[in-house]
Point group: C2
Chain length 216, copies 2
């Protein structure tokens, strides 16, 4: 049976509430802080993977926040940092998530995320999503877009070949990494960003999850 | 004999002239364009390395520029793109480079760079630097901070062990990657940036190359 595999943060879960809390703790600096934080968080996943120095996403996320506060010369308020990390455990899903998963109820459904289980399990439970598997790179100690990460989905979902998996991500580089690996891929481009130039293109570019072709 | 190994772009070679030309081609947008370009250039080296989809730095650099022009909704002017790529072949060295290399004349000196030979050889020739080796990741088809890149210097310089190499970079993540590998490392922090949180720290943080401890 065909499977649909979703990225988590930014694809199913909306991190906007984290942005809002950044602004509450550091008034007027929320947008700049959350942008630096997200950029650095991803950088650190790629750098640590290349260095062969994996640590869980929860630690990467804290370290990226510490850098971002120093970069913006903001007070390193431990209480605020704890509160922001807690916010990650109860993110809202995007409005089109529940309906899309319901339409796909005849398929096998999974999450494949950089998130470590200590971050991922609580947020999936909080959102009460019906999924066949929640897969974390933590099992492999390397981050996306290493091919081993996408291979994890092939093995755990026991599909015959990789093209039987449809992968969905709002991160263009993640979509391209999955396409390079051999999945059928949709990039959810909510923000109208340009396509990354990495040698591959998604099979489709959609502006919302609701546009996913579910009946085939 | 001990060796000093230098990163190229931003460490020995000042990319400011590229920034200035960006502004000449796209008035008022030079700073934003060159910042997006540099960020994306590095991202693409990390992503392609993780994907196992290496292409030379000259191609990564062009693709990062194409993305950045699209991101900033600027005209994709092929003549301007060619001119910017040419600019990379005749970058100035920072003012403290010649004097520092002269003070280190009793050591073995090398460059270890992401730059592909088609970019690196012309700029080194243009600057007329006296070096024992110009090493490019292109031999390995993977980018910094993969340990294999730093290992290349150990092999090519034929040092007994990696701690006999002093590595110098203005990129904090590169300095930390080299430290994680086992070099003695100095981070040239000209801009006063915060230290990256990646589990290792350079042996020293200097504001100019002139502060390198050369007599020991």
């Amino acid at each position: 049976m065909d499977a649909f595999v979703f990225d988590a943060y930014g694809t199913l879960f909306d991190v906007h509430s984290v942005v809002r809390r950044c602004d509450a703790f550091w008034p007027g600096k929320g947008a700049a802080l959350s942008q630096a934080w997200r950029t650095k968080q991803l950088e650190y996943t790629w750098l640590r993977s290349l260095m062969g120095r994996y640590v869980p996403f929860s630690q990467v996320t804290r370290e990226a926040l510490a850098w971002s506060l120093a970069f913006l010369k903001l007070e390193k308020n431990e209480k605020a940092i704890d509160a922001l990390m807690q916010e990650y455990l109860r993110l809202d899903t995007f409005p089109d998530v529940k309906e899309t998963l319901a339409k796909l109820k005849d398929k096998r459904l999974a999450i494949l995320s950089n998130g470590s289980p200590d971050m991922l399990d609580p947020v999936v439970a909080h959102a009460d999503l019906r999924l066949d598997a929640v897969l974390s790179v933590d099992a492999l100690k390397v981050y996306k877009p290493a091919p081993a990460v996408y291979q994890l989905a092939v093995e755990k979902l026991k599909v015959a070949d990789r093209s039987a998996i449809t992968f969905v991500s709002s991160n263009c580089w993640d979509a391209i990494g999955a396409k390079s690996f051999g999945f059928r891929v949709f990039w959810i481009n909510r923000a109208g960003a340009p396509l990354d130039r990495l040698g591959f293109e998604p099979d489709g570019v959609l502006s919302t999850l609701g546009d996913l072709p579910v009946k085939e």
